[in-house]
């Protein structure tokens, strides 16, 4: 645990550096492990449990990709990233992909040289207030003190919203959502604003949840989704379609439990193509035939993942809303597999 480590590893890394390679997909296959940048800890979306196993809605995307590429959903190394380090970690190649509630914006897509490959959660920024405050709309918050999580798009949205409505506020920046929860409960701010999903998670764990309401205004669009480096289109396709396989599976009624049964009995040509029984979609992006089957089997289809991690059955209790399938009035829509 001293110089030896440094030198030894430097030596190893210098050697690794020698092998230049073509793309992330080959890197991942050669490594036998997918490196996935995740949140340092966000309830429901990505956090390690008591045994150190990462669980959550975003984490499930990592597992699906690992299953599709490597055949094993557990061959993932999770790298916790903060709001500041996430894009750098991706850009520098420290992680292969980010699956950590990051908002897809124009400047991130273009200026930061990132590619947002899909949207796995349509979110929007909302406000939570105490019932006693007697406020029923965010526009009545003139002069209020508002707790806001720093290092995200939310502080820009907040400034824009209050400017557009020509009202004033005092920002209280907080480091993370548990700090925000504490401050809000202590009354240090009148309102807490973050993504509506985060508000729901915070509200779910309050001792007196019934006394807090989430205001109807959603002041921004927050399409959250997995991110890859710009310029590696093949890898971007792998992540994108691994995700869409989950969505398509929900649409077609393929679940973790019945996937083998469906594979044996299905007559639907698209299901056949997805499950690799017909055609060879996997080969087009450098994977084998059963890639999508494994991705779905990893932690179930989109709906199952949603229900198991953040859905109404869990204590976070998020409704599907915008994230329902397009057939049910939502926005989740997988392009055709053909």
């Amino acid at each position: 645990m001293n110089k030896t480590v440094l030198l030894g590893t430097l030596a190893a890394s210098a050697l690794l550096a020698g092998f230049a390679s073509a793309g992330t997909l080959d890197d991942v296959k050669a490594r036998g492990e997918l490196i996935c940048g995740v949140n340092t800890g966000l309830t429901g979306f990505g956090a390690p449990d008591a045994n150190g196993n990462y669980q959550g809605f975003d984490v499930a995307v990592c597992k699906a990709v690992a299953a599709a590429v490597l055949g094993d959903p557990n061959k993932v190394k999770y790298v916790p990233t903060t709001g500041e380090t996430r894009f750098t970690a991706l850009a520098s190649g420290e992680v292969d992909m980010l699956a950590r509630n990051s908002t897809w914006t124009f400047s991130r897509d273009n200026d930061l040289k990132l590619d947002f490959v899909a949207v796995n959660y349509y979110d929007g920024q909302g406000f939570m207030v105490h019932k006693d405050l007697g406020v029923s709309s965010a526009k009545e918050l003139d002069g209020a003190t508002i707790c806001i999580q720093t290092g995200t798009t939310t502080e820009l949205n907040l400034a824009d919203f209050f400017k557009a409505n020509n009202i004033g506020y005092t920002p209280v920046t907080v480091a993370d959502d548990s700090e925000a929860q504490r401050q809000y409960l202590a009354g240090a701010c009148d309102s807490f604003t973050t993504d509506a999903s985060g508000l729901a998670a915070v509200r779910a764990t309050m001792p007196d949840a019934e006394n807090h309401i989430i205001l109807p205004e959603i002041i921004s669009k927050e399409p959250l989704g997995p991110v890859v480096r710009h310029g590696d289109n093949n890898w971007g396709d792998v992540v994108r379609w691994s995700y869409y396989a989950l969505v398509a599976a929900e649409e077609k009624g393929i679940t973790q439990a019945n996937i083998e049964e469906v594979a044996a009995s299905t007559q639907d040509p698209e299901v056949k193509r997805i499950l690799g029984l017909e055609g060879d979609l996997g080969a087009m992006m450098g994977l084998d035939k059963e890639w999508a089957k494994r991705a779905i089997a990893a932690s179930g289809n989109y709906g199952e993942i949603f229900a198991a991690t953040i859905g109404e059955g869990t204590s976070i209790g998020l409704a599907r809303g915008l994230n329902a399938l397009y057939t049910q009035g939502g926005l989740q829509y997988a392009p055709p597999f053909r």
């Binding site: 030896t4 008591a50 190394k77 380090t85 750098t88 993370d176 548990s178 309050m206």
Partner: protein
């Protein structure tokens, strides 16, 4: 002759009891607490302050809950036991997650390895601190051995594991008992030999913590052997400086170009090794100690060179050393950590990529090297000028004088300062949470709070971690104060 019968007392009178106000508790109170108006005010203010703190915290501490599975359950238990609206501490979170605070996500069946590495660290320190002292070395090694074995037994009871039908914990305890017993015997029989273990410890500690193929650390050690051999071969002709340079170059060639082939070949022939643990599984106090200890140990040689450079007669060397030291000391540690996480990849060759913990360790090593250099410079300055002159008079060259006369004394004087630096660094390891590592204070706590059952818990993790930090730092600072006193006595 008639004696004048004046009164002569033959025996001493029994001393009178002092007046009540001048004895016992009253005297002590008067002298120590109420000797003047100002003192009385201070006493009363102090007592009131202490009372207020206790009054605020005591009920909360008394209403502690240890057995619960979630914060909500804690709240229910407290409400049921002490009435609605009562508040209390929910220590159940510590009971359930203590191992994450200590080891992070280190695999549970391997907890014995960091524990062992931690214990062995003290054994390795013993000969450094008390070189050749048989009694102290034996006692220290023995006590550490017993404590380590007790800790191992505790861990194996907490996380019972069986490998191939054998109780893994018992096996670990057995191995530890053998190794530690052997070391204690060495300390008893040949205390000076224990220094070899200290030299070996970095490799042992590394192997215990990270595991993997046994050939890796052996190969790295072989690099040092190459260094020594080349140095010995060339110093006769080329002198110490060039000889060292040649040794370093040879060792670097070994490490960078040859080692991996050799160890790879050896591993394929004889695959010895244990389970490999990735450094991203490190967390909690394990991480704090790994970063702190590695950085301090690795920064020692660098700090010595920088301190010598700063006192050098060569203007360029001096300017570079001063520039490095003042630059590092002038920027906050946080910026160094962010450099490790955000900038290092710009400065290193494209596609070279090693994990964040290692990058953090490297930057923290630079950081502490600047501070250690200043500590050692203080030690060098404290040496009387006569020592240097005596070395010159004996005809020793620069490096001989440093090695044989100056450094042994200067380093000894610097030990308290080095310990203080370590305490500072150890506390500062809490900052690594800001770059996404799982330090005990914020990193692990954030993970714990992200679990739905512990969301909303606030004070308990902080108090638990704060107490451990206090215990570690307080004992170290007491030790360094003791050393300081002892060194002062030695010098008189």
């Amino acid at each position: 002759m008639q004696k004048s019968a004046t009164f002569v007392r033959k025996e001493m009178l029994q001393a009178q009891e002092p007046p009540t106000s001048e004895r016992g508790a009253i005297k002590w109170v008067r002298e120590n607490l109420f000797s003047s108006a100002l003192n009385s005010v201070l006493t009363i203010v102090g007592l009131v302050a202490a009372f207020l703190v206790i009054k605020a915290a005591l009920p909360w501490l008394l209403h502690s809950v240890w057995n619960a599975n979630s914060l909500g359950e804690c709240r229910d238990i407290i409400a049921a036991r002490y009435g609605e609206g009562a508040t209390g501490a929910c220590w159940a979170v510590v009971r359930e997650r203590w191992h994450q605070y200590l080891f992070g996500f280190y695999p549970q069946e391997l907890f014995w390895r960091p524990t062992m590495a931690f214990g062995l660290m003290f054994v390795a320190l013993a000969p450094v601190l008390y070189y050749g002292n048989q009694r102290v070395n034996t006692i220290m090694t023995g006590v550490v051995s017993i404590l380590t074995i007790l800790a191992l037994i505790g861990i194996s009871l907490a996380f019972p594991q069986t490998i191939g039908g054998v109780e893994a914990g018992a096996l670990a305890v057995l191995v530890a008992a053998l190794v530690l017993g052997g070391l204690t015997a060495v300390a008893w029989l040949a205390p000076k030999r224990l220094l070899y273990f200290t030299l070996l410890y970095p490799a042992v500690g590394f192997y215990l913590l990270w595991g993997g193929s046994i050939w890796g650390p052996i190969g790295t050690l072989a690099g040092f052997a190459v260094l020594v051999v080349v140095y010995n071969l060339t110093k006769g002709q080329l002198g110490v400086v060039v000889g060292t340079g040649a040794g370093v170059v040879a060792a670097a060639i070994w490490w960078l170009a040859i080692q991996s082939h050799v160890t790879g070949a050896l591993h394929s022939v004889l695959p010895l090794g244990t389970a490999h643990v990735d450094s991203d599984e490190f967390g909690g106090f394990l991480l704090a100690f790994v970063i702190g200890v590695t950085a301090i140990a690795a920064s020692l040689p660098m700090g010595i060179l920088l301190a010598l450079g700063r006192r050098s007669d060569m203007p360029l060397i001096k300017a570079l050393s001063v520039g490095f030291i003042e630059f590092i000391r002038g920027v906050p540690l946080i910026t160094m950590l962010f450099t490790a996480s955000l900038l290092l990849q710009y400065f290193l060759p494209p596609r070279s990529n090693f994990d964040l913990i290692l990058r953090v360790i490297i930057l923290v090593t630079f950081f502490s090297a600047a501070y250690i250099a200043e500590v050692i410079r203080g030690g060098l300055a404290a040496l009387p000028r006569g020592q240097y002159e005596a070395a010159d008079a004996l005809g020793l060259d620069y490096w001989q004088a440093q090695r044989l006369i100056v450094m042994p004394q200067a380093l000894k004087i610097s030990i308290p300062g080095i310990v203080s630096s370590f305490i500072g660094l150890f506390k500062d390891t809490t900052l690594v949470a800001l770059v996404g590592l799982h330090d005990p204070l914020q990193g692990v706590t954030k993970v714990v709070r992200a679990a739905i059952e512990w969301k909303g818990i606030y004070w308990e993790p902080y108090i638990f971690v704060g107490l451990i930090f206090f215990a570690c730092c307080f004992s170290m600072s007491r030790y360094s104060m003791y050393l300081e006193r002892k060194l002062k006595r030695d010098h008189r």
